[in-house]
Chain length 425, copies 2
């Protein structure tokens, strides 16, 4: 007796399941548990994974309305990119050129560059412009295999502009095949009109922006979680200010994320643990004690190696120490116009293997299952376990390790989101 | 009175001509001379560039059989990749994984890995297999904008297998749209059967392989130059052995290239200058005196930053010192299955800007005009000067700087080779 299903993907050289461990992300030594089925198949129905198993077996047991022959290629979960600043207009190519030429950050700021140039452009842009430019990026992100992507606000930095960014993100969420997770990040930087008055800007965030964002969120009847984030770093928001920003978001029903320890450590990772943040991101300069704390917490440690790379730096997240401490490590692109315009999760995997010294298997789990937990969707996406959304990729190669072994290209042949082919070579 | 031409590419936001300087490559401070025409057009006839100029002007003066509207996008010369090992079979993903896991080179060799595993695979392969696997790479190389590519032998390491590799390269040269420049590199490594007897292997190269290759080359009636190359490095071929290999090639009408100073300097760059080699490649550990010598020589200095990147290293070619000394700097992928499976010249540009501290303009000239000089084709390809082959790219963006500013993706929209569209999104 065969079971009817919508789709059977068959003849895969490998199906990498990337299972949850103890009902959560893969932590410590468990990171890199792929649950590979060779000569595998995936049965999909109603947009969800029904079963992963041997192709010979599944072909007998399922009667599929549609069959996709993977033809000896590898199948992996769609990537989850849990940290991006994808919603912006314009670019900063000129600033990149100045930086390569030796200009300092202060010189670039004085010449009208830096984050403020993107803030000016976003404030002047219509929501349509924001949607159009971000959609083009999102299409490339999808084409590179990312089926779930977090997008932060944070180039508006006044209430009207932050709401405009949120509107753009929700419009894209409604129209685009990728699952989009919105994060409110009014505390991305201190805007020029609040220069030297960071506490006053935090007041604005706490008393005006956060309630306005929460109000707007209710109008969207959003099903996925919404996050609040803050750039906790010297020169941006100190620990007390970061706490105020996150607590305001928590009070309004958001879940916490934090930019911590990118250039200097001022306690952001510890704050993340204390507030049960869903993730702590960057973590380049994290002290040993905070690594231990992350190892024992539910907070996912998100490494963003494209950012040091984009800046030409050579210091990266101490991933092996985090893994050794038992932390749940995830990877993300940090895609943004200033430091890392990178739309490819496989490139981040290739970078992480080489400079964070994680294996291809660890990188795949960090870019899928653990990244899903870093956006609160660990029970819905990020692995090929029964009941999860059928978000998966057929690669142009028979071995998932090539995703990290090679670099600079795109080995994703077919992108399937919720059981539908949404991109294909 | 209008002039009939085959093709007019019009409405380009920028056309980057990348002109020769003093009839040669761009050296020293001249590196990065792009000759940008804004709102430009390119007239093409008989597969060659006829003129680059203002679109409004060229539209009036040319009557084109076909017009391509670049629609506000940037046009640059097709990339020239002057150093690849693109002809191989199989892969070394498992070795990559072992290396990330901490295995040493000696452990990998002992486990049957390293270059010898590729040599075994190539010796066992048919020429058809070699052609098929290399064609797939070549198609991706072309899709990433490379219209001229050098390919070395060197995974055969016996006379029969080196000739087989040469046959595969020439078959691809005959069938593929890209211009392929062959290099004989019997001295890529010492094969297992000559372990501890490097001089005897050099005897084989000098007395048997080189004449046999020269004989085979005559049967192809090759129009483009053919090169001889050697891996001059401790543990591979010492300076005296390298000299013997290159002089044998020179005697048989080949032109010299050299792998020098990748891990340690034993005088390879000086040898290149002495033998008027067309290029000296790698140049990571090159001493100051040899940088000065390269600055005064015709030998092009080829940086291969994908290789240190691929190995997870942080030491790169001292490009600024080479430029300061007046050298002609070029970029290449070094695409190979061991250290750098990278098929994208734009990725190499992005890497070079960040870690070799060269500007996007310098990177573009190094990846086009100077790279053409590094394969002896500086008078035929690498720039959009009248009389050169019409090899050019329409980007998916209005500013060439994005090629280096962004990373991990592919911004090449349309590839035109000899006036024909050969790849397009």
């Amino acid at each position: 007796m065969t079971q009817r299903v919508d789709l059977l993907i068959t003849n895969a050289s490998q199906v990498c399941v990337v299972p949850s461990v103890n009902g959560g992300p893969q932590r410590g030594k468990a990171l890199g548990t792929l649950g590979i089925v060779t000569d595998g198949a995936v049965a999909v129905d109603g947009g969800q994974i029904v079963e992963v198993g041997a192709a010979a077996d599944l072909r007998l047991r399922y009667d599929a309305a549609r069959t996709i022959n993977a033809d000896g290629r590898a199948v992996v979960p769609g990537f989850v990119d849990p940290h991006t600043h994808l919603a912006w207009v314009g670019d900063r190519a000129a600033e990149f050129e100045q930086r390569i030429g030796g200009a300092t950050y202060m010189e670039i700021m004085a010449a009208g560059g830096g984050i403020n140039s993107t803030v000016r452009a976003v404030r002047a842009a219509s929501v349509e412009q924001l949607v159009d430019e971000t959609r083009a990026r999102l299409n490339r992100v999808l084409r590179n295999g990312t089926t779930t992507v977090e997008i932060k606000t944070g180039y508006g930095l006044d209430t009207v502009s932050e709401l405009k960014l949120l509107d753009a993100i929700f419009r894209l969420a409604a129209e685009h095949p990728a699952t989009i997770v919105p994060t409110f990040m009014g505390a991305h930087a201190v805007p020029p009109e609040y220069d030297g008055r960071t506490d006053a800007f935090v007041d604005l965030i706490v008393h005006e922006m956060t309630p306005a964002v929460a109000e707007r969120l209710r109008s969207y009847s959003q099903e996925t979680p919404v996050f609040v984030d803050v750039f906790c770093e010297p020169g941006a928001f100190d620990l007390a200010q970061s706490r105020r920003v996150l607590e305001a978001g928590l009070t309004h029903g958001m879940r916490a994320k934090i930019h911590a320890d990118e250039f200097a450590s001022i306690g952001g990772a510890r704050l993340a643990v204390e507030l049960s943040a869903v993730s702590a991101d960057h973590l380049v300069t994290t002290p040993d004690a905070d690594i231990v704390a992350l190892g024992q917490a539910d907070t996912v440690a998100v490494a963003l190696p494209a950012t040091p790379f984009g800046l030409g730096h050579t210091h990266y997240t101490p991933a092996r120490a985090l893994i050794g401490a038992g932390a749940a490590l995830a990877l993300a692109t940090d895609c943004n116009p200033g430091t890392a315009w990178c739309e490819s999760m496989p490139f981040v995997m290739a970078l992480a293997c080489r400079y964070l010294r994680i294996t291809p298997a660890e990188a795949l789990a960090a870019a899928t299952l653990n990244a899903a937990y870093a956006v609160g969707l660990g029970d819905q996406v990020g692995s090929l376990e029964p009941g999860k959304q059928a978000d998966l990729l057929i690669l142009d190669v028979d071995d998932y390790r090539h995703l990290a072994y090679r670099f600079g290209g795109n080995l994703v042949q077919t992108v399937i989101k919720g059981g539908q082919v949404v991109a294909s070579v």
